[in-house]
């Protein structure tokens, strides 16, 4: 299975859920499968679990999705430790494990050797950890994650993109992307979330 195939097959199961997407080729794969202002392009490798946790705690009645990669997760395993401790019920963290740093030269990651990312998630205390092996099983895992309380950690072994690698990496200005994402959240939530500035007199005294 390839990441693009899996995401394309499962896209309708995500509905309008906000998705934080890791740096790299997962971004064009997902943004082409489900084009939406609700897709947030992360900038710091590994920050997905942490930003997803913060958003999940701030918006506890909404499923929050993180689409991640093995290289990113390994860079911030602390994020898994904290998710396993705090256990936000509405966080769905999906890791596509292609066992290489695909966007930076295809050098193998630790998961190509002795690391099991799913076992790490279990050891961190994440409540629901699954390892779907087929596209059908992946769709079942995603559906289950939306239907039941988490946190959910879905680790999917995928082949490298190879010749299917997305070459159209649209680079949206990150601040514009942030504003679009916040407006999208505000529309979903039906309330204001963003504070442009704080008036010292009105806001604090």
């Amino acid at each position: 299975m390839k990441r693009k195939e899996a995401l394309t097959a499962a896209k309708d199961l995500f509905g309008d859920a906000p998705c934080f997407v890791t740096v790299g080729l997962a971004w064009p794969d997902w943004n082409q499968a489900r084009p939406s202002d609700g897709n947030f392009h992360l900038k710091t490798l590994g920050s997905g679990s942490s930003i997803g946790l913060g958003a999940a705690l701030a918006l506890p009645n909404r499923k929050i999705v993180v689409l991640d990669g093995d290289g990113a997760v390994i860079m911030n395993v602390n994020g898994l430790v904290t998710v396993g401790r705090v256990r936000p019920k509405n966080l769905i963290h999906i890791v596509f494990d292609n066992k290489i740093y695909e966007s930076s030269g295809c050098i193998p990651t630790a998961s190509a050797h002795n690391l099991s990312i799913a076992d790490f998630g279990r050891a961190a205390g994440i409540k629901s950890v699954t390892e779907p092996k087929t596209i059908g099983a992946f769709k079942d895992a995603v559906k289950n994650a939306f239907d039941t309380e988490g946190p959910h950690f879905i680790v999917v072994e995928v082949e490298p993109s190879g010749d299917d690698a997305n070459t159209s990496y649209s680079r949206l200005n990150e601040v514009e992307g942030k504003f679009k994402f916040i407006r999208y959240l505000e529309k979903l939530e039906g309330r204001a979330l963003r504070e442009d500035s704080i008036d010292v007199k009105l806001g604090l005294r």
Binding site: K43, S49, I182, L185, R191, L204
Partner: protein, 164 residues
């Protein structure tokens, strides 16, 4: 020895400035503050395992409408430099950095850490204020939060051990 009474005054100042979300990693001097955040029903408190995560956690919570503070020792500030740069600065995310200033003047521990702290913050483009008098905490904290939002970036308060 850090006192619960001093910590309560700082928490009161944070709440007056509208802070309702805190991510933290403890230092011995910060223990009363950590315990205070845990007890406070008005504040969501996330205990971290490495400080750099906290930049991400506060960013996600900020997108969801929370006013956030990240509390840590200055060693943790050094751990957080990449996320502060490529997430908080680059995406223009306001947050308050409450940093215990180990190695400050009159603090014998970690002199090297004390020496590099302010130059690193300056290099990151993060405005920095020093809290060395508890009576100044309300004005300094509210001023820093206002500045963080109006400038859309992190603002740091370095807390000397004497204050706690």
């Amino acid at each position: 020895m850090a006192s619960a009474e001093n910590a309560d005054r700082i928490i009161k100042a944070l709440k007056r400035a509208g802070i309702n979300f805190v991510a933290s990693l403890p230092d011995a001097s910060l223990v009363p503050l950590v315990q205070g955040f845990d007890r406070d029903a008005d504040i969501i408190h996330v205990p971290l395992s490495r400080e750099e995560e906290g930049v991400g956690v506060c960013t996600g919570a900020n997108l969801g409408g929370k006013r956030c503070a990240l509390m840590m020792q200055n060693a943790g500030l050094l751990n957080s430099c990449n996320a502060l740069t490529t997430t908080a600065r680059q995406l223009q995310i306001p947050m308050l950095l409450l940093v215990l200033y180990a190695g400050a003047l009159n603090d014998m521990a970690f002199p090297m850490l004390g020496e590099v702290t302010e130059p690193v913050l300056e290099a990151l483009g993060i405005s920095t204020y020093i809290l060395d008098d508890l009576d100044k905490a309300p004005d300094l904290i509210s001023g820093a939060v206002v500045q963080a939002y109006n400038a859309q970036r992190p603002v740091a308060i370095l807390i000397t051990k004497a204050v706690l």
